[in-house]
């Protein structure tokens, strides 16, 4: 009988790693941009600095890690084997990195040609990814809420990138489109339909697995992705038909669904069987609390639109959702997934004759926790900078850059130790 785990078809470790080791650098760049731009960046959502910093985080950090993680984890989550994952990773990684830089430069320098190029490069990268992944998933039945969630999230990815490219072209060519309404919809598809649904689909597996909580109950976990998709379709229809009431209603229901998911995850975490609170757990606590806070602000503005015009309201939602929500969720997962994948590859490399080093030897909990504390401080100052931008924006940006640079350093250190352990195992196998 075969005794090893069936990872012979898993992509090489370097496939997701190139994404994981690039993403924190983009987040650090966002911090540096805030430090350079100062308080002006928080004046409105539409300043070039705010648009650039937002996309350094959403495209540079979030999209990188999410696509990289999917390439690695689809065989485990959905039993799907991708055709030539290493080549796909190279193409998508290069396209996302170049596309993010072009987009940010386009915003900062107001250059239409850069915005057009960014739209083209990002579209091509994401279409390449979707073509390979959707072909692989076409025959896979939705036997779990995770698989259904991933399928819906891929639809959301197509939505956010399609809308984003259209917006970039509209900006570049000065088309008379209702840009604020379309930009809100673009953010809704990105943070709700793509990132939010994908996060939930991953959480159904990784929260019980790594944090030893009970599982997500069947009914809400199957319905959450469907409700989000339905609300985004309704929101899109409302923008097309210019029905403000339906825009608000769909935002309201989507926000309530998000609060429900976050609240359920908090409840499951409170029943976990792992006594120690590690960096992943703390990052997720921050992410869940901050997401709930952000969605309450969104919900309030949907019920009472004048609230959305209060100074700092929209930037606060952005900081809470991105720096307080998605970044901590992803950093927390990276601290579990990266050493686990490294350990699995080393285990396979040792062929049951040489043992792989323990996971905490590849990435120590003390290192993760120190970085986590630095990140919490950076987030707190960034949130305060929404209220006191002139005083706090620059220090907040610097702290944010440092905390994300530290994340890079920790992940790179794990990679370095992985390479050393791999060389050691090869040497020991040769001498046996």
């Amino acid at each position: 009988m075969q005794a090893g785990m069936a990872f012979e078809n898993a992509p090489p470790f370097i496939a997701p790693l190139r994404f994981f080791l690039t993403a924190p650098l983009f987040a650090a760049l966002a911090g540096l941009l805030i430090a350079v731009d100062g308080g002006d960046l928080f004046a409105s959502r539409w300043t070039p600095g705010a648009l650039a910093a937002t996309h350094l985080i959403t495209v540079g950090f979030m999209l990188q890690t999410m696509l990289g993680a999917l390439i690695q984890i689809l065989p485990v989550l959905a039993g799907v084997d991708l055709v030539n994952p290493l080549r796909l990773a190279q193409v998508v990684h290069l396209g996302l990195s170049a596309g993010a830089l072009l987009l940010v430069a386009g915003f900062l320098f107001g250059q239409p040609v850069l915005l057009g190029l960014a739209a083209l490069v990002l579209c091509l990268s994401v279409v390449s990814f979707l073509a390979v992944v959707m072909r692989a998933m076409a025959g896979v039945p939705s036997t779990s809420p995770t698989i259904r969630g991933i399928k819906i999230a891929l639809f959301g990815l197509a939505g956010v990138v399609g809308l984003g490219a259209a917006l970039a072209l509209a900006l570049a060519n000065g088309w008379a489109w209702p840009l604020p309404a379309l930009a809100d919809l673009h953010a809704g598809w990105g943070l709700g339909g793509w990132a939010g649904v994908l996060l939930a689909a991953m959480a159904y597996v990784v929260v019980p697995m790594f944090q030893l909580t009970p599982g997500y109950p069947v009914r809400p976990s199957w319905w959450f992705p469907v409700v989000m998709l339905a609300m985004l379709l309704a929101w899109s229809l409302a923008v097309l038909a210019d029905w403000a009431w339906l825009v608000r209603l769909s935002q309201l229901v989507a926000a309530m669904a998000g609060i429900g998911f976050a609240g359920l995850t908090l409840r499951l975490q409170s029943k976990r069987r792992r006594a120690r609170s590690d960096a992943t757990y703390r990052f997720w606590q921050l992410g869940l609390g901050s997401t709930i806070f952000a969605l309450f602000l969104l919900l309030t503005a949907a019920l009472w639109p004048a609230a959305g015009d209060i100074e700092g309201w929209a930037p606060a939602i952005g900081v809470l959702l991105l720096a307080g929500g998605f970044l901590p969720f992803i950093a927390g997962m990276l601290y579990k997934i990266l050493p686990f994948m490294a350990w699995l590859h080393l285990q396979n490399c040792g062929m049951a004759r040489v043992a792989a080093p323990a996971m905490n030897k590849l990435l120590s909990e003390a290192d993760s926790e120190r970085q986590m504390r630095a990140y919490f401080l950076a987030f707190a100052v960034l949130l305060a900078a929404v209220i006191f931008p002139d005083w706090l924006a620059r220090p907040a940006g610097l702290l944010f850059a440092l905390a994300n640079g530290w994340l890079y350093w920790n992940l790179f250190g794990a990679f370095r130790r992985y390479r050393l352990a791999e060389a050691d195992i090869v040497q020991k196998l040769a001498s046996k």
Partner: protein, 75 residues
């Protein structure tokens, strides 16, 4: 632990990887011809499915209300 479907049960819901895989393989080795075992998990173990198929085992999967996947594996 026993279950209505079979007395041979691995409850891996609070185990860390790769313990569920190892415990399942160990129990499969102890089963006699025609016996079945039940694996309880909060996720679908696709890498395990692949090994089961490669080794000629049949399995049926059912997700119950609390989110548990009940995977009934034939020897």
């Amino acid at each position: 632990m026993s279950h209505a479907k079979t007395p041979h049960v691995v409850d891996a819901r609070y185990m860390v990887p790769p313990e569920p895989f190892e415990a399942t393989m160990e129990m499969l080795d102890t089963l006699k011809e025609g016996e079945k075992m039940l694996l309880l998990l909060y996720r679908e173990p696709h890498p395990l499915y692949k090994v089961l198929r490669q080794n000629g085992h049949d399995y049926e999967v059912e997700q119950v209300a609390d989110g548990t996947f009940e995977i009934l594996i034939s020897r």
